[in-house]
Amino acid sequence: MQKEITVALVGNPNCGKTSLFNALTGLNHKVSNFAGTTVEKKTGETKLSAGVKAQIIDLPGTYSLYPKSADELVTYEILRNKAENNYPDLVIFIADASNLKRNLLLFSQVADLGVPIILCLNMMDVAERKGIRYDLKLLEKELGVPIFAINARKQEGIDNIKSALLNDKLRITAQYYNLDHVNAKMLDEICKATDKRNKYAALQFAINASSLLSEKAQRIIKLFEKYSFDTRKFQEDEILSRYHIIETTVRNARLKNTSQLKNSLTHKVDEILTHRYWGIGIFLVLLLLVFQAMFSWSSYPMDFVEYIFGLISNYIETQMPKGILNDLMVQGILAGLSGVMIFLPQIIILFLFIAILEDVGYMARVGFMMDRIMRPFGMNGKSIVPLISGMACAVPSIMASRNIENKKERLITILVTPLMSCSARLPVYTLLIGMLIPDTAKWGPFNVHGLVLMLMYLIGFVAAIFSAWIFKFFIKQKQKNYFIMELPSYKMPVFSNLMITLYEKAGAFVWGAGKIIVAVSVVLWVLASTGPHGNIAKVEQKFASTINNDTIPETLREEAKLQMNSQKLEASYAGEFGKMIEPAIRPLGFDWKIGIALLTSLAAREVFVGTMSTIYSVNDDGGEETFSNIKTKMQAEINSQTGKPSYSLATILSLMIFYAFALQCMSTIAVVKKETHSNKWPIIQFVYMTVLAYASSFLVFTIFT
């Protein structure tokens, strides 16, 4: 029979925990929610022997069991509840051997919860370079738990851990911190109130419950008051006592101590990369190179994705019997899927660079340098990662804001990240800029096209910063504002780690955003293919004679078919919607056709291009020609009321601004709802971005008319 054990990986941030998780499980892992909660866990499987598997849970890095950020909370939530299905049979604690004292603080807290624990000392080589060596046998004896030396990045020592997991004799619990100084009667009552037998676990849970104001908070606060128990004082005492115990242990097991505060290689690199004057310049140049790479490398895979989807659509369209199922497959599901996959190359390239910079240790430095600049806008240095990732896709970026401790700063970061120009806006901008400026236009050595595009990215960034500044005044906070962050030592990036991070980020996009994009595509297909009063059937009838007449040349019949599709869309519910909102969007210079596109863009903004191609009866085969064909048709369009071109300079600029600011992305709304645990914030976000988009477009249209 298969036996399965649950193992949790716990450790400080930057201790190499993710490397170990990857070494143990490879690509064999997934992110899912705990049943009935919003707590997300990352699990993977590893085979220990013929009959035994281990379910490995990777918990976000934390400095203590008193959580201060959303991701630290996840770790605490999983370790606090023994009744939980996923409660680990064993904890593997990963400690950075070059920073053992601080790592052991959390270790001793976790051990005191009463869970069996083994200690893995990682980065022994780094420690050695710092002049630190330990007598592991002695350390093992002092701490009373099994200790393993590993090098997670080089995958050394992994087999020892695997065999240790199989050995029931190594399921050892240990206890370090003594609660004798705490009122025993109160502890008993706390144990009763929290349903826990382990006194430290009960007290620790009670303190967190009282500060997080979660379940049972009122009862516990009363208990603390009754015994005049000062939680902060207790925590301070706990931390200092633990350090004292650790200090003694570590000192005994230390072989030689040549470690003095000294300038290491990291210091020398930091002198250049975080230099007071050039530091930010170096960062901006790096960013520019990253974007240059993103644009130039992604065009080939994107063409390839388009080509493949073109082939599949074509095949299904011609091979499947004609009818509603065929249309649903091709125009609903496949259109949605290709809308998802087309962004993948850009997103992968941008996230690859961010992952490299993060793995090396540079991203923490960017946070350090940018903190002072972000602060006046209600954010902090850690906000820079979500904002930059927002230029690929807002969905994984918003999830990346979890390590921001301050709730207000995190919320502001979440609220403004979708203003950064994501990859879905790019096709829209490309089409619209193309209508304004010929591709070949040059300004000095620069391509004007590219410059305008850069301007749009800049506008997005400025709008994000400005909105953040406004939010700063409206969002209240009780929490203290601080920015205390570790700057890890620089490391060489590890290829397998990069690939796995990439897999997770791209996965968040494909599974998180993707399923919504496909779902919305199907709904929109229904709205675009059905209509009131049998109008659609009437359009079909009108064209039937032409399309089915074999004597008419093929090209004319194709033309008639495109005309029919355009008129069908006008007669559909989507068309009705466009006409219905036309009075509202006319002040922005938009007609009902753009109204339809605004609706369909809710799946993903780039759907704008596809909708325009249908409205203007262009055969959307996804190639280069589609773009120039839509462009030509749109440019030729004459407004029946004014007799002037429908797409004047003012309308196009207004449209570009609208797409820059409006929250036309259901996936973003869904992820914000999940991350903020509320309906309020996604609604506020949708409203403020719509108002911003409307007002700015109105202004632009009025100025340029």
């Binding site: 400095y63 920073n99 931390i239 470690s259 530091g279 600049i373 205390i484």
Partner: protein, 74 residues
């Protein structure tokens, strides 16, 4: 003397943290009384600063560093 007054390369010993809300976080990160500390980097605009501890490097805003009382070594 507090942490904001430390000069580049100068070493000091942490005496105490005067801000109660901050002390727990600082202790957890390893900035605790008795530890030796050295100023290593300063971000653009002079804030935040990065300090070297015996085993790690931590950055902290000037406003928070103000509550860390230190005693310079020699």
């Amino acid at each position: 003397m507090n942490l904001t007054e430390l000069k580049f390369g100068q070493k000091a010993i942490i005496e105490r943290v005067t801000d109660d809300d901050l002390s727990l976080k600082l202790f957890e990160m390893g900035l605790l009384p008795g530890e030796t500390i050295m100023l290593e980097n300063v971000a653009p605009f002079g804030d935040p600063i990065a300090v070297l501890l015996s085993e790690s490097k931590i950055c902290i805003r000037l406003q928070d560093a103000g509550s860390v009382q230190i005693k310079p070594i020699d």
